[in-house]
């Protein structure tokens, strides 16, 4: 006699997770689905109203009433060889989500370079949805093989993204310096045209660190002494102010190789110029270099520094100084950059 379970079949698969944020009419954002399976763990604290709501500006309908926050965690605080994590996220029209991690994503040693751990995240953003994903960096230890992808799908090129992907050289305290077997990280943004249903690639940022390339150099030499590399991807009206801030600050960087002949009278510095001068001094101390570019409706910021903390502090200070993300999403957005 066969036993028929009275419960529905479990749809969860190891490492799979799903997040759906929907709108409860008329305008209440709700976390409709939050499911996950070992080794993935998702934690969702109560959503908070955005700080900007309390301000005096007229509360138009485009500002959502709540901002959701979700922590992406793994049991054991990292990814063990052979783990595969798959996360699907859907953000309904006009919802907002902050994704966070708790500490760097550690990639543990693999017994064989062919055994690759994987982390795959797909995010569907409906019209006017916004995602802030400013995680801790990925930290691949020595002798690891890891591949991750973050794929974002937009509708009609709409949607707002502020997402960062960064990686460090390993446990520098233990002398690890890009001693990994392979590291791959892919960020893609696709758009689907409503009318034609056609998919089009808007952006692909693919980093591949492996033994290929015929450089006859160790990975650490290829990295030119930097211990952290990162890319910040910005898109959409919600982040347009932050985007132009990065572009303006990049324009305002002093010329490389320029000299101060001392024959220009120092004008009275504005507050922003003073902050910039302080930041530039820190960039110099941290040996941090960065660039910003306006491409295909995105602002792409690339940065590298000698130490992880240099990049972390720099990114936090830039976003904090510009302030629009904090107003729209609250302090939680920057939790991983503290």
């Amino acid at each position: 006699m066969s036993f028929v379970s009275p419960f529905g079949a479990s749809t969860s698969k190891p490492g799979h997770g799903s997040i759906i944020i929907d709108i409860l009419p008329p305008d209440q954002p709700v976390l409709r689905t939050l499911s996950y399976q070992y080794p993935l763990k998702l934690v969702a604290p109560d959503p908070l109203p955005p700080p900007s709501q309390g301000s005096t500006e007229p509360n138009n309908n485009t500002t959502p009433r709540l901002v959701h926050t979700i922590f992406l965690l793994t049991y054991g605080g990292g990814i063990v060889a052979g783990d595969a994590i798959n996360l699907d996220i859907t953000l309904a029209t006009n919802t907002r989500l902050i994704l966070l991690t708790q500490g760097s994503t550690k990639i543990f040693k693999t017994p064989s370079p062919d055994l690759i751990s994987k982390q795959h995240m797909t995010v569907h953003l409906q019209r006017d949805a916004a995602l802030v994903y400013l995680p801790d960096p990925v930290q691949p230890f020595a002798q690891t093989a890891f591949s991750q992808s973050q794929i974002y799908h937009l509708e009609n090129e709409q949607g707002n993204l502020c997402v960062c992907d960064w990686v460090t050289s390993g446990r520098s305290a233990r002398g690890e310096n890009w001693d990994l077997y392979a590291y791959k990280s892919r960020n893609e943004v696709w758009t689907t045209d409503d009318a034609t249903g056609k998919k089009r690639l808007l952006l692909r940022d693919n980093l591949i660190l492996d033994k290929d390339g015929r450089t006859d150099m160790r990975l650490s030499a290829r990295m030119d002494g930097y211990a952290v590399f990162g890319t910040l991807i910005l898109r959409g009206p919600v982040f347009s102010s932050l985007s132009s801030f990065f572009i303006e600050e990049f324009e305002a960087l002093p010329r490389i190789g320029g000299r101060n002949w001392g024959d220009v009278a120092q004008p009275q510095l504005s507050l922003r110029e003073q902050r910039r001068a302080q930041r530039l001094a820190r960039e110099k101390d941290d040996r941090l270099i960065w660039s910003a570019a306006n491409v295909r409706g995105f602002v792409l910021v690339k940065f590298a520094s000698r130490e992880v903390e240099g990049s972390r502090n720099w990114l936090r200070d830039m976003i904090r100084e510009e302030a629009s993300v904090l107003e729209a999403f609250g302090e939680r957005a920057l939790l991983c950059l503290k």
Partner: protein
């Protein structure tokens, strides 16, 4: 006087023997010496096209860009300042070739194999080029190559393709698809807002149309880049022209290019990506140099 005649006799024998061997050898050589065959005509055509594309003026406009070399040198000032920049240059050339092979070469190979997909590949390459300086350089050279095709090569190769179509129905089908794809791409450029004309995909397409073997096409693509970087180094006073030729002639460069072509041979464009992340920063920060001799 018996000994001279004996010598003469042995010499005579030797002559007879040698003549016989000569005839044998000639007879054996005959079959492969039956004049230029059809296959060598096509090989000559490919060689001719190869020579056209390996002109040092191509990629057109490459002289205006340093592919990040100028910025790299500005970020790596030698100390003392009088020290040679040569070691830095060699490191840069390796990294630059590696980057090109991992980001652009898969597009050359894929467009050659699937010419009809040129528009998608051009879009995807554009989406994968994160820095405006590299983007401008790639588009400037791609458009220049398209202009060379339109104004100089098109008449010749369109006629040749039509000829081949009349006389011989098989064999040239592949390059016919490519001719059509190129014509379509060239005319779509005027109407579509999404077409950029990047060098890498267009290079694959044009070499396909010119019937250059794929391996050679990929090889020249990398070699032209090496030549552009080396030429930039000469103009940036890193090395002299003789040294530059020595770098280009070196077996080290040959092995490197061959190895890179092999590594990329089966790579899909989805797996194309940056293997030297700091390269994006060097190239992107070229705009911030105080003094520049190259375009950014």
């Amino acid at each position: 006087m018996t000994s001279p005649s004996a010598d003469q006799l042995s010499l005579k024998d030797e002559i007879v023997d040698l003549e016989k061997r000569l005839q044998d050898a000639k007879a054996r050589f005959k079959p492969s010496d039956a004049g230029p065959t059809k296959s060598t005509v096509t090989a000559d055509a490919a060689l001719h096209a190869l020579l056209l594309l390996s002109d040092s003026a191509l990629p057109l406009g490459s002289f205006a860009f340093s592919s990040g070399l100028e910025s790299y040198l500005a970020h790596h000032k030698p100390s003392p300042p009088s020290a040679s920049q040569l070691p830095n240059f060699h490191t840069f050339l390796r990294l630059s070739l590696s980057t090109l092979a991992s980001t652009a070469l898969p597009y050359v190979l894929t467009t050659y194999r699937h010419p009809e997909e040129i528009e998608r590949l051009d879009n995807d390459f554009d989406a994968s080029t994160p820095c405006t300086v590299a983007r401008r350089a790639s588009i400037a050279q791609g458009r220049a190559l398209l202009a060379v095709w339109d104004r100089s090569f098109k008449t010749q190769y369109n006629d040749a393709a039509a000829d081949a179509n009349r006389h011989d129905t098989n064999g040239s089908m592949g390059s016919n698809v490519a001719v059509k794809a190129l014509a379509g791409f060239s005319s779509a450029l005027r109407t579509s807002e999404y077409i950029n004309v990047h060098l890498a995909p267009l290079w694959g397409l044009v070499t396909k149309v010119l019937s250059i073997p794929l391996h050679e096409s990929a090889y020249i693509f990398l070699f032209s880049h090496a030549r552009a970087v080396v030429s930039a180094a000469v103009r940036a006073s890193v090395m002299g022209p003789y040294q530059a030729q020595a770098v280009l002639a070196s077996s080290e460069l040959q092995n490197r290019i061959r190895g890179l072509v092999d590594q990329a041979w089966h790579k899909t464009v989805e797996d194309a990506g940056q293997s030297v992340p700091v390269m994006d920063l060097w190239v992107g920060r070229h705009e911030k140099l105080y003094s520049r001799i190259f375009n950014s």
